[in-house]
């Protein structure tokens, strides 16, 4: 047993007042969860403290919340670990590491109904519905089940692991800046169907998500959802898969997403390191493959970027040569040959090594060794104690 102080951001809609902080003292084993701490405070101190929960075992996805600023499930976060994190932060800021409270807030990027209970409907479920979250199969449904190769479903098992808790939505930094962003949960769900061999509308789905200015190219690649997800769905990885698939389909989106990706890849193939001026130009007006073809948006965006470039020139941050696309140096000849050989090899294979599915062989070997040790220990501990049936 240990004593903890939990500091909860509360909001009582009927009070007419804004949110406020309230601290509760709780006493429980460090291995128990933050949710257990909240339920103890509710039980002992204030029955009006609102928190949504059900299974308490990281299956139902009800108790999403922010703990010390980190989005996750209350039931899957040990209170002892939460305390360590709170202490570490206080220490880094030079504060005394004594009775540091564990800070608990409702999920972000969604309205709060009461205390830790957020409105999942207005953001999370609305966004999920946005991506047509059901199978759109070829023709008539078969009389019995669909038959697919088991291997062809492996690719989407990771996105299928989602329990719709909303922790990733809560943590999303793009959505913080752009509330219209479709977001990590819904896009991971979209990949669940894009990657499904039974779905007939894959290309249409990709067009839809690539063309939306708040779609797949609005993800800022911050990994917040990867760390927030209690089920290792890694929503950002699913968004990158959607981008890869959209690129493979050759979908030209109006957000310069595909052009930016192709420009980056081609520049490194040509020069080995990044020609930044060329990346900007090529993202807006792809010309590496032919003539300059700026789109209307490309022209507008190019004009918008001019003040920044002029300022950089004035400050001599960037010399005139560096500001001109294409003048960036190449790596030495033999190094460029290496890079080109790598491109050729990788383009032939284009393998995606999915760690979620394949696992780390070192860790797998450790698990197997551990199991073998346990089996051996069991075998020696109970040599002939088998009781005959009846």
């Amino acid at each position: 047993m240990a004593e903890y102080t939990i500091k909860v951001r509360r909001f009582l809609p009927e009070s007419g007042e804004g949110p406020f902080w309230e601290e509760f003292g709780v006493e429980l084993d460090p291995s128990l969860s933050v949710l257990d701490g909240l339920l103890q405070a509710k039980d002992r101190d204030d029955g009006s403290l609102a928190v949504r929960c059900s299974c308490r075992a990281a299956i139902c996805g009800s108790c999403g919340m922010k703990i010390n600023g980190q989005s996750g499930l209350g039931c899957k976060t040990q209170i002892g670990e939460a305390q360590e994190l709170a202490d570490k932060k206080a220490s880094a800021l030079g504060e005394a590491v004594e009775n540091v409270p564990i800070v608990i807030e409702p999920m972000g990027n969604m309205p709060v109904i009461k205390d830790l209970v957020t409105d999942m409907e207005s953001t999370h479920w609305t966004k999920i519905r946005r991506v047509t979250p059901w199978l759109l199969p070829h023709g008539e449904a078969p009389e019995r089940e669909y038959i697919v190769e088991p291997e062809s479903m492996i690719d989407i098992t990771q996105s299928m692991a989602c329990i719709q808790c909303g922790a990733c939505v809560s943590s999303c930094l793009s959505m913080e800046a752009d509330p219209d962003f479709i977001g990590p949960a819904a896009l991971a769900k979209a990949y669940r169907f894009v990657g499904d061999p039974r779905d007939a509308e894959t290309v249409e789905r990709l067009h839809d998500l690539a063309n939306d200015p708040h779609g797949i190219y609005d993800c800022t690649h911050c990994f917040s959802c990867v760390d927030a997800c209690p089920k290792d769905v890694a929503p950002m990885d699913q968004i990158m898969r959607l981008r890869r698939r959209a690129g493979e389909e050759g979908i030209e989106d109006p957000n310069s997403g595909h052009d930016h990706e192709i420009a980056f890849v081609k520049i490194i193939e040509k020069k080995g390191t990044l020609d930044e001026a060329m990346l900007v130009q090529e993202s807006y007006a792809p010309g590496l493959k032919g003539k300059l073809k700026p789109s209307k948006r490309g022209l507008i965006e190019t004009i918008k970027s001019l003040p920044t470039i002029i300022r950089a020139l004035r400050r001599r941050k960037v010399g005139p040569m560096k500001a001109i696309p294409g003048t960036h140096h190449k790596l030495p000849g033999d190094a460029m040959n290496d890079v080109r050989a790598i491109y050729k090899h990788a383009e032939e294979h284009n393998e995606e090594f999915n760690l979620y599915i394949k696992g780390d062989e070192g860790e797998l070997a450790e698990i197997e060794a551990e199991e073998a040790r346990e089996d051996a220990a069991e075998a020696t501990a109970t040599p002939s104690e088998e009781t005959p049936n009846g």
Binding site: F181, T220, H221, K304, V339, N350, K358
Partner: protein
């Protein structure tokens, strides 16, 4: 270990030699002063910044395996000065280290170039951002002992860059749980004051600047504004891409968030160098877009 001279294979990245040349120069200054020997990997290629991986994962993995192999050829561990390089390279390294047959497949093409990436079983070979190296290998006490001009009274807001703080499992937080408070520790070791504000571990928005300028600059502008409101004299970052959005784009970000900004943003080696007695001019601070004048004034009031 502490008294052994540090020598590393140094990967400066693209941006530190491109749009933030002041970073590369400052790193050289600091390394010399701290006695860190840098063996520059001048034939290495771009890390792909996550964009190449988005296009073709195997391509990104092989390009970075080549960089690792070049570093291993020198017999030294690797150091980078860019959060984005760190994140993109750690991602590839995690996949390469996970599976020997995948590694062999990648090494197939490298072998034609006389190169091979070997997994280091005990972590003896590693790739660390300067921030990690400074705290874990050089040491904060030793750093503090080198300070000739303490940053007394200078209020510094840390800005990490996503790629160096997430995902935790991939970035070695199991072994080094304090990696997301190292900037605070360094600021204090240099005699400065840490400013707490909302954006320290958030995204600068740079990756989407060509795709959604508004979303991108709103992120940069919000964090700079929050730091100003918290009383910061400057920000410090180990990521040159963050620097581009926080500094180079700052006047544009100000328009998006509709407020005056004007906050100096220093590269990590610049902040360290200032405390070691370097002049702002030597560190290329005149190249910054947001004026560093206020930082210079603050420091001038403390004799070097």
């Amino acid at each position: 270990m502490a008294d052994e001279k540090i020598k590393v294979a140094y990967w400066p990245g693209c941006v530190s030699r491109g749009f933030t040349p002041e970073l590369h120069g400052s790193m050289g200054w600091v390394a010399e002063r701290l006695g860190i020997e840098l063996v520059e990997l001048d034939r290495a290629n771009c890390c792909g910044a996550g964009v190449i991986a988005e296009h073709n994962q195997e391509l990104a993995d092989t390009l970075n395996a080549r960089t690792f192999a070049l570093a291993q050829q020198t017999g030294l561990s690797m150091m980078n000065i860019c959060s984005t390089c760190q994140g993109a390279q750690s991602e590839c390294q995690q996949r390469l280290d996970a599976d020997s047959s995948y590694r062999a497949h990648i090494n197939e093409v490298l072998s034609g170039q006389g190169l091979s990436y070997e997994k280091s079983e005990d972590g003896a070979w590693n790739n660390k951002n300067f921030l990690w190296l400074l705290v874990e290998d050089y040491g904060l006490d030793k750093l503090a002992a080198q300070v000739t001009r303490p940053l007394s009274g200078l209020r510094v807001g840390p800005f990490y860059g996503c790629y160096i703080v997430r995902p935790k499992e991939r970035l070695g937080y199991g072994e080094y749980p304090d990696r997301d408070v190292y900037l605070e520790q360094v600021i204090k070791a240099l005699g400065g004051e840490v400013v707490e504000y909302d954006g320290a571990r958030k995204c600068c928005g740079f990756p989407v600047v060509t795709m959604n300028r508004e979303t991108s600059l709103r992120q940069a502008g919000t964090h700079v504004g929050d730091a100003i409101d918290a009383g910061a004299d400057c920000l410090v970052t180990p990521c040159p891409l963050c620097h581009l959005n926080l500094d180079m784009q700052q006047p544009e970000a100000a328009k998006v968030v509709n407020r005056d900004l004007g906050l100096a943003v220093l590269h990590l080696p610049q902040l360290v160098a200032l405390a070691l007695g370097a002049s702002p001019k030597e560190l290329g601070m005149s190249k910054h877009i947001a004026s560093t004048g206020w930082v210079e004034e603050r420091l001038a009031s403390v004799p070097a």
